[in-house]
């Protein structure tokens, strides 16, 4: 007798009084959770449901809802349901547990423990509807000393910069981990918004080269899709050293996702696994990174800023200080709540640091060393709304990367099953029938709306503080107060407690 150790995690509840038996749920569920019996009756296989809400959203009569299955083990504080079922899974498979997107675990979210200031009496708040409110942002190295020519005029020697209309960019998500339609939506929205998106480590699809001005191209440990036209294609080049969701390990795109188009873009054979090594095998130390930075600068004639992206880990501030001294123009720090298309669950849930603490300690460290202006800081990994953006900038970031938020705008329901490749929303999949569910034009509009709405909210909050330009908010930690934090946490964040 085969014993099934598992109970399905969700229950699909269908209201047969409402159901018109159209069968749309069956065709829409790539996981096969909706089925029709030989007798023609609709039924569900709940164990296949990932709770992505596609059936709920498309059902014309709203007859479906998904509920968490309330089956329970005997109460136990040490051995929770998740612990027990994960042991069952591994005892059965012998494999590494995989998951996707950012960690769902209950770690402190420091964004929610910081409050923003506003003006009262002693200086006026500014109304962004009536007064100019500036969010234009430049990323890159600054000139630490001004030089003059023989006429006494300032030498306007420009270092490579990125210009953004608002301090928000779409973070790296590779073609392969997400669909071409998702890339099209991101690229189009970046162009409309005057910001940049990041094509990730999977190369750049031919059809997207004309968005180059709004593109950051990535060079990662697998070097997928890297060639000279690619390096020239974007406005900036990002060296990916690590990712917040899985610090210390590389990526793994299974062969089933490597179709013809992806194989061409990545420059690897069709159907073979695409494995990004854990380290760059030409970078075993900081001096090696410097060489890669300058190789890329040489290759692009010193015209493009080089971004180095690292995962937030324990000694992040020394690492960032080292990177700032090795020629990087911009450093992107990715916090451990950041998303991923696939990661070993234990790593995602246990390795790395919250971005708020990493950002605060890096900004402080770079200032202590007097080199904060030699580099711009971009942070990502769980920026959920405009208030998070404001707090990040007040802590010291120049701009933020958003990934998960952008995908949610495209329809992602955070079911954390990207690694299965069957995304019903057409985002994290390469199945043509699923990809076409994501309309790039509509996605572009939704992303446009999201970032425009956030920008307006940022302006409202800035105006409330009496600040009319984003640069006066950057590193302005007096605009933040902590709530419910220990003295040590406040010290690391460099902020005062509320009421002080």
């Amino acid at each position: 007798m085969k014993v099934d150790y598992f109970q399905s995690e969700y229950e699909i509840i269908r209201d047969f009084n409402k159901c018109i038996d159209c069968g749309l749920c069956i065709t829409q569920c790539a996981n096969g959770a909706h089925k029709r019996s030989k007798e023609g009756k609709l039924y569900t296989e709940d164990s296949l449901c990932v709770n992505c809400h596609r059936c709920v959203a498309v059902c014309p009569v709203k007859a479906i809802k998904i509920k968490k299955n309330d089956y329970s083990f005997k109460d136990n504080n040490s051995w929770k349901k998740e612990d027990i079922t994960n042991i069952f899974r591994q005892a059965e498979s012998g494999g590494v547990l995989l998951s996707s997107m950012g960690t769902p675990k209950d770690y402190p979210i420091y964004w929610d423990k910081m409050l923003i200031n506003a003006s009262q009496v002693t200086n006026p708040s500014i109304d962004p509807l009536r007064e100019p409110m500036e969010t234009r942002t430049f990323l890159g190295k600054k000139n630490s000393t001004i030089e003059f020519d023989e006429n006494g005029d300032i030498k306007l020697e420009e270092k490579p910069f990125i210009e953004l209309s608002t301090p928000i960019m779409f973070s790296a998500m590779s073609y392969g981990s997400i669909s071409l339609n998702a890339h099209k939506a991101l690229a189009g929205a970046a162009k409309d918004l005057g910001i940049l998106y990041n094509c990730g480590e999977g190369g750049l699809h031919k059809s997207l080269y004309h968005y180059g001005e709004n593109t950051i191209i990535q060079v990662a440990s697998g070097r997928f899709g890297v060639h000279s036209d690619y390096l020239e294609a974007g406005s900036a080049i990002e060296i990916k050293m690590g990712q917040g969701a899985k610090p210390g390990i590389g990526g793994h795109l299974t062969g089933t996702k490597i179709n013809k188009d992806i194989s061409k873009t990545r420059m690897i054979p069709e159907g073979f696994d695409a494995i990004s090594p854990a380290p760059h095998h030409d970078i075993y130390s900081i001096e090696d990174l410097k060489q890669l930075v300058y190789i890329l600068k040489e290759a692009t004639d010193y015209k493009k800023p080089i971004i180095v992206k690292v995962a937030a880990v324990h000694n992040i501030s020394s690492i960032v200080s080292g990177i700032a001294r090795c020629g990087a123009d911009i450093i992107a720090i990715d916090g451990f709540r950041g998303g991923t298309g696939a990661a070993p669950l234990r790593i995602r849930d246990n390795v790395g640091l919250p971005i708020e603490l990493a950002l605060a300690s890096c900004d402080t460290r770079l200032r202590e060393e007097g080199i904060r202006d030699s580099v711009s800081l971009v942070v990502g990994g769980s920026i959920r709304n405009s208030a998070d953006v404001v707090k990040a900038i007040a802590l010291g970031a120049d701009a933020v990367y958003i990934g998960t938020s952008a995908l949610i705008a495209l329809g992602c329901h955070l079911c954390r099953s990207c690694h299965l490749g069957k995304c019903n929303w057409g985002i994290a999949t390469q199945r043509a029938d699923l990809v076409k569910r994501l309309n790039p034009k509509e996605g572009r509009t939704r992303l446009n709306n999201l970032v425009s709405a956030w920008t307006f909210e940022i302006k409202e909050m800035m105006g409330g503080m009496g600040i009319n330009s984003i640069e006066a908010l950057r590193g302005n930690r007096l605009m933040l107060r902590g709530i419910g934090l220990t003295e040590k946490e406040l010290e690391v964040l460099g902020i005062k407690i509320a009421g002080e």
């Binding site: 200086n123 600054k142 503080m465 009496g466 006066a472 302005n476």
Partner: protein, 363 residues
Amino acid sequence: MKREGEVRIPSGCAISGIFSKNKKLFSGESAITSIKVMHDRSNGLGGGFAGYGIYPEYENYFALHILYDDRVAKKDCEEYLEEHFDVINLSKIPTRKIPSIKDEPLIWRYFVEPLHARLLDSQLDEKEYTARCVIKVNSNIKGACIISSGKNMGVFKAMGYPEDVGEFYRLEDYKGYCWTAHGRYPTNTPGWWGGAHPFSLLDFSVVHNGEISSYDANRRFMEMFGYKCTLQTDTEVITYMIDYLHRKQKLPLKTVAHILAAPLWSTIDRMEESKKKEITFLRKNFSSALITGPFSILVGFEGGLMALNDRLKLRSLIVGTKDDMVYIGSEESSIRILEKDFDSITYPKGGVPYIVTLKETQQ
């Protein structure tokens, strides 16, 4: 209760300034008259003056005005001064006992020059050497505060209404070609005299009205370059930014004004190409020196005076001229009391500096 420096105290204020382009010397009384009109803009918790050209007999020496909490502070500070400077002259600053000014600290004045050997050793010029010593004393020697450190100029400040402060310091006995004055309206008690304005470093002195919202961004930027914002006041950080941009980066004051109160991007985008390139370059490279929030400031320096408003002009400021004289004030009444018949009256636009210099330095 925490004393100023341990806590940040927002203030409203009155400012005024008088300048003679021909370097005619006049006593501090006119500055008192001018600031007194704006009595209601202060609340008796701080007032002060800066005079330029007041020490002609010691014009080659740095004049240090120092406030001491007690004799221990004085002893420590003087020990430090003697290790670093040749003290040419020292004396108590003469004051007059008046009922409204109480609990005064010990107020001393030193004319000094850097010790030659130490200066050589430091590989710095004498201004940088002196500035570093001043910052060191103010951040490290408990109970000592150098409020003035320029040549042929001096700052006089105290707790009280500015007109009383002027009387206390016997400003009628000093003659200068430029005076600035300040009446302070702090929201809570600063606890000591150091927090009053003008704030000064070397020959720069700043009086300021407003509360800037960019304070901590500016402060953290400045602290990268060795400045220590011990008072946590806007005026202090503004002074340091001017010192950094003008003295260290060698940018002209007009350019400094374009950094502190940078034009809006929408204005920059409409500028002609070369101007646009330069202003964009400055805004990008010194973005952390942008000041937001309301301010009007008067910056005194050797041979000149600059008035500047925030870019939205959230504080009033008026300039009147008569012959070689320039009068600047928060309110028109403060300059009308000194001159009835102006040649011209202007209201500097937000972010556009008004700079006046001595005729002799212009040639």
